[in-house]
């Protein structure tokens, strides 16, 4: 079985691909901060960020469908909150449904709030997907190490990235093994029980594999550090990029506070 990797387009060779991974990671952080700090219900200050991301996207030459698909994958996390706002936020009702003693109202303020939150979510996720579309995951990990992110966190991410697909494959094989015998039908209770069994076996196999990987690492002198071999070269263009993005992010936040606030 073969899965599309997270950083499928990261092997490209465009000016934004060639930027230093740490510079791009810091820039991502600046973009996310500038987006989340925009005041409540104000859409105007989000426009420069969207324009900057669109420009970066053009340079990156990543297909729109690629980004859209990944945004869809992470959208359930935001959707749960965004979809609740129109019902929870007090304000002028635009739609009312009366169910006996229950009244459900969708408010105008709630819709604006939901739209604002959705816009922020799209911008932050878009920026993250663009980073991964232009930077190999291992380079992002190395950048995180250079940026002094705690090692235990980076090592966890590295292992998750390396073994996620191996585990998914293993789970898929177990499910196929079950489907080959129950034909995908049968009483729900039996199917539920077998699902629990599949999950249990997968856990045990994961545990075994973790032990074997640890042996393999110790056999080669593992001392708690994962070292990469690529030596980063930070050029002037990387400094210009990261300082430019950070300055623009600060400008957006100041504009939002001073002009729109």
């Amino acid at each position: 079985m073969h899965h599309r990797m997270l950083d499928h387009f990261a092997a490209g060779d465009t000016p934004v691909h060639r930027l230093d991974p740490a510079a791009k990671t810091v820039a991502l952080l600046a973009v996310v901060l500038a987006t989340v700090l925009v005041g409540r219900d104000r859409f105007l200050p989000l426009i420069p960020t969207a324009a900057a991301l669109a420009a970066y996207h053009l340079f990156a030459r990543a297909p729109v469908w690629y980004v859209a698909k990944r945004l869809l994958v992470v959208s359930p996390f935001a959707a749960a909150i965004v979809l609740l706002f129109p019902f929870l936020e007090p304000g002028r009702p635009v739609w009312t449904l009366v169910l006996g003693t229950w009244t459900i109202e969708v408010t105008e303020d709630g819709l604006v709030r939901a739209g604002h939150l959705a816009a922020k979510f799209v911008l932050c996720s878009w920026a993250t997907v663009l980073l991964l579309a232009t930077t190999r995951f291992q380079d992002v990990l190395q950048a995180l190490e250079r940026l002094r992110v705690p090692r235990v966190f980076v090592v966890q991410l590295a292992f998750l990235y390396r073994y996620l697909w191996v585990l998914l494959d293993e789970g898929m094989r177990l499910r196929m093994g079950r489907a080959a015998r129950d034909g995908g039908v049968g009483p729900w209770r039996v199917r539920f029980q077998s699902s629990v069994g599949v999950a249990g076996v997968l856990f045990l196999r994961t545990y075994d594999r973790a032990e074997r990987i640890y042996w393999a690492m110790t056999a080669r002198g593992f001392d708690g550090k994962l070292h990469g071999t690529r030596r980063p070269h930070v050029h002037l263009k990387d400094w210009i990029f990261v300082l430019g993005v950070c300055a623009a992010a600060v400008a957006v936040v100041v504009w939002d506070r001073v002009a729109c606030g």
């Binding site: 074997r212 393999a216 080669r220 002198g221 593992f222 990469g228 071999t229």
Partner: protein, 248 residues
């Protein structure tokens, strides 16, 4: 006679579940020897490899490249004993092949230039030149196997121990490995059931059964002895069985 590069004396181990996996294993391997270790499932072959590297605390005496295995010396022993595990997915744990091959040399404290040289040299030895930037997940099983070999080669161990190196390989991948192994200058210990491979690569074979070494001798002699092999749950290598069939 020179001091053996690997020496085991009366090595015993019982798993915490109570299974007695090793019941007094004794043998030695000279530098440059290529030795096959064969036996049925559950004979204790993989446990023996784990014991040799100090991953399970076995009783008895184990010496690797002059280092007596003990609580404080496991690190030194592992520097000289390159273990290649059965499942290459366990061995290749870094996101890039290049980083994985570099892992051993870097932990050994070599400088960047030496590490780079060793990575290039090891990948070239297994026919994976220029694969430094590939993700292990994107390699075929044969490539993964060779990359796993490169990760251990890069440490230049005095002895390499390979557990079931031909498992899951297609005939071409297997042939590639058979041609590659004799070219490696290291002392080899080949563990597994692929008797044809062991016959081609190793001049000496150890037969293991129920936690003991039951036979030790030239591969062509032991592996052509049908009665001996069958009494230990093995079969004549296909190449020899076919030859006998032709003669008949």
């Amino acid at each position: 006679m020179a001091e053996p590069v690997l020496e085991l004396q009366n090595v015993r181990y019982r798993w915490p579940t109570g299974t007695e996996a090793l019941r007094g294993v004794t043998f030695s391997v000279q530098a440059g020897e290529r030795v096959g270790l064969v036996g049925p499932n559950g004979a204790g072959k993989s446990t023996l490899l784990l014991a040799m590297a100090g991953f399970v605390a076995a009783d008895g005496k184990i010496r690797v490249a002059g280092h007596r295995l003990a609580r404080g010396t496991a690190r030194d022993v592992r520097r000289h004993l390159g273990l290649v595990f059965q499942d290459p997915d366990d061995q290749l744990f870094m996101p890039r092949v290049g980083d994985d091959v570099a892992f051993g040399p870097v932990t050994m404290g070599l400088d960047a230039k030496d590490v780079e040289d060793r990575v290039a040299e090891s990948l070239s030895a297994v026919g994976l030149e220029g694969c430094e930037d590939r993700a292990p997940y994107h390699l075929s099983v044969g490539e993964k196997r060779r990359a796993a070999l490169a990760t251990v080669l890069a440490m230049r161990p005095q002895i390499m121990a390979l557990d079931e190196p031909s498992a899951n390989l297609d005939p071409r991948g297997r042939r590639m490995l058979i041609e590659l192994l004799p070219r490696l200058s290291n002392t080899l210990l080949l563990v597994g059931h692929d008797l044809d491979m062991i016959l081609e690569v190793c001049r000496r074979t150890l037969v293991m059964d129920a936690g003991r070494i039951v036979e030790d001798g030239p591969s062509h002699e032991l592996l052509s002895n049908r009665d001996l092999l069958e009494s230990h749950g093995l079969e004549l290598p296909l190449s020899l069985a076919a030859k006998r069939g032709d003669e008949r």
